[in-house]
């Protein structure tokens, strides 16, 4: 973070939208993005805006009961604020879901009140008996 001549704040970071990895400079005024430089495509501007309040998709596994596999892979349907990751992971560490599970199945609705869902990304069949 730096201060420019006219007192507005400048934030520098690397865009992660595509492999180019453009080095962006976002100029902020009053906490809002006034302009973005260094991007080679328009997605960089959106990314910069998001970086002020960075968000990430959570990717993990959660425990399954009664399935042919002990865990199912899940993701959040939308990115959630980065600083909520530890709490998200703690909550998911206590979650157990019952087989069968289908890809896309919503495991947790409105996760942490953030209006995103936790969805399964793998099919899990019921455990075979015997």
């Amino acid at each position: 973070m730096a201060l420019s001549a006219d007192g507005s704040r400048i934030l520098e970071f690397t865009c992660i939208v595509c492999p180019m990895g453009c080095r962006l400079r976002a100029i902020l005024e009053g906490g809002e993005v006034r302009s973005v430089e260094g991007n080679r495509c328009p997605r960089g501007v959106i990314y910069a805006q998001n970086e002020i309040e960075p968000k990430r998709i959570i990717i993990t596994v959660i425990k399954v009961s009664g399935g042919n596999l002990p865990v199912v892979s899940v993701k959040t349907s939308e990115p959630i604020p980065k600083e909520m990751i530890p709490e998200a992971m703690k909550t998911l560490s206590k979650t157990i879901v019952q087989a069968p599970i289908k890809i896309g199945q919503i495991i947790i609705k409105d996760f942490l009140g953030l209006k995103v869902n936790v969805v399964a990304t793998r099919n899990v069949d019921p455990a075979q008996i015997g």
Binding site: V61, K63, P70, M89, K90, S93, K94
Partner: protein, 500 residues
């Protein structure tokens, strides 16, 4: 005394297991094989070159036991490998000389071998050497040819000996560490272990690297064991060129030198180095830059060509138990009735083991003044697990029909099937290394990165235990620290207020 004599053998390495097998041949002996690790043969026995030496190396005036027992052991192994179905290559060994001085040493070795009772030793010239070993170095001027030498798989040998011993009534105590030896009235009465007290009349010390500590427990301890590290490199099975014989350099007074050999499974192997470690470092089996460099350079001198370095699939190290006097310590101790030493079994310990076993038997007979009856129904034979990888397609079709688990390939590189792994577990493997040494799973090019988890899953299923608790080689080597949420859950429990 009369009646049953209870014997405990400390150490289930090749020496202890050989003694167990021999003692199991008789009535009136209750034999206990006591081992501190989770499986047999995990000390010196699993990490050595695996050579059944011909017997010309040891000077009988200096090391009478080594000299006598090596040649004898060699002869007995020729029978035992058949009885016990142990993979062996009776390929013979060649000691290479590169100049006149070394050729003189070959003469000494030849004479010594003859004195030790070794048959068919010969000094051969460069031409004959090239015929016997096409990959031998162009610079070798002569060689000592010992056709009676062989390459064995040392862990296969221990496993075979123990299985046969168990069939014949020997009791195996794994993960049982001897903490003390109870002596009363100058006589052995039992072993104090980390588990229970084992009441016995006779203790045979075959504890390898820790034999001197065991000896001290009995109030004896007239010798020290010093660890000598030997590092090895193993090549992929398809790496060429290999060697067909065991190739030695001319020996020095300290060691037989770095060897080039092809294992019974067809892998070229080179080593060992010889590095004396401080007495207290009896667990240091680390590989070092200098050690491996020395092995590579020395081995390169013996052959025309080694395979490229990128064909090495594994390096490892073993420790030899060097006794302070240099010779084996095989004696019936006068000071403590019933305590017999079978220690200091540095090279040629593996070769000598069967001969040591018979020598111990005689000591036992003399000490307890009895002539034990041969056990009726003693089973001399043991069969190893049938290896799918060694069968033809027709043979494979047949076994898969009989045992469907032979159709499930677990280790692709070595073509090891689920049936073999389940059999290994049935025969006593409780760890990944236990399965590995009985089946060759995880010993291939990938070194377990593709198959170890499959082996672990089978162990977990067969032994009804959580997967993360399956271990590589016993307590402290579990493959996981808990289920995938173990750390997050702990954090949950530590933080936050108690809930109602």
């Amino acid at each position: 005394m009369g009646g049953l004599i209870r014997v405990a053998i400390i150490g289930a390495g090749v020496v202890g297991a050989s003694i167990a097998r021999v003692l199991s041949m008789f009535e009136d002996l209750e034999v206990h094989l006591v081992e501190k690790e989770a499986d047999v043969g995990w000390g010196v026995s699993k990490a050595n070159t695996g050579i059944i030496h011909a017997g010309y190396d040891d000077e009988p005036d200096l090391y009478p036991l080594r000299a006598k027992l090596c040649a004898e052991g060699n002869r007995i192994w020729h029978e035992w490998v058949k009885d016990l179905d142990i993979p062996v290559r009776w390929c013979g060994s060649l000691v290479l000389a590169f100049n006149d001085e070394e050729e003189k040493i070959l003469e000494e070795l030849l004479n010594r071998g003859v004195r030790n009772g070794v048959s068919n030793l010969e000094i051969i010239d460069h031409e004959r050497l090239k015929v016997l070993e096409t990959n031998s170095s162009e610079n070798a001027t002569a060689a000592l040819w010992a056709p009676t030498a062989g390459q064995i798989s040392p862990w296969d040998a221990v496993i075979a000996l123990v299985e046969n011993s168990l069939t014949n009534g020997v009791r195996l105590h794994l993960s049982t560490e001897v903490k003390g030896i109870k002596i009363s009235g100058g006589q052995v009465c039992g072993l104090e272990t980390n588990k229970s007290f084992l009441e016995v009349d006779c203790v045979i010390n075959a504890a390898g690297l820790y034999a001197d500590k065991i000896s001290e427990m009995a109030g004896l301890g007239g010798y020290r064991i010093k660890p000598r590290k030997g590092e090895y490199l193993i090549f992929d099975r398809d790496a060429e060129p290999k060697v067909s014989r065991i190739i030695f350099p001319t020996p020095t007074p300290i060691s037989k030198g770095v060897v080039v050999t092809t294992t019974t499974d067809g892998n070229l192997m080179i080593g060992p180095s010889a590095q004396d470690l401080p007495e207290n470092l009896r667990e240091d089996k680390s590989n070092t830059y200098d050690g491996l460099k020395l092995v590579w350079e020395s081995a390169s001198n013996l052959v025309k060509k080694l395979p490229p370095r990128n064909k090495v699939i594994r390096f490892f190290a073993g420790l030899r138990p060097e006794p302070s006097g240099g010779d084996f310590i095989i004696k019936d101790c006068d000071e403590v009735f019933g305590f017999i030493e079978a220690s200091g079994m540095r090279s040629p310990g593996l070769t000598s083991a069967p001969a040591v076993a018979y020598m111990i038997l005689e000591m036992l007979k003399a000490k307890f003044d009895f002539n034990p009856k041969p056990k009726a129904g003693w089973n001399r034979c043991r069969r190893r697990i049938k290896r799918f990888s060694e069968m033809t397609f027709e043979e494979r079709s047949k076994v898969v029909n009989e045992n469907p688990g032979y159709g499930r390939i677990v280790c692709v590189d070595e073509l090891v099937t689920e049936a073999e792994i389940v059999e290994a577990i049935r025969r006593g493997a409780t760890t990944i290394d236990g399965v590995k040494f009985r089946t060759r799973a995880c010993m291939g090019t990938c070194q377990g990165s593709s198959c170890m988890h499959k082996v672990a899953a089978i162990l977990a299923r067969e032994l009804n235990m959580p997967l993360w608790m399956v271990s590589l080689r016993g307590s402290g080597t579990e493959i996981g620290i808990g289920d995938v949420k173990a750390l997050l859950r702990d954090k949950n429990e530590l933080e936050g207020s108690p809930r109602g």
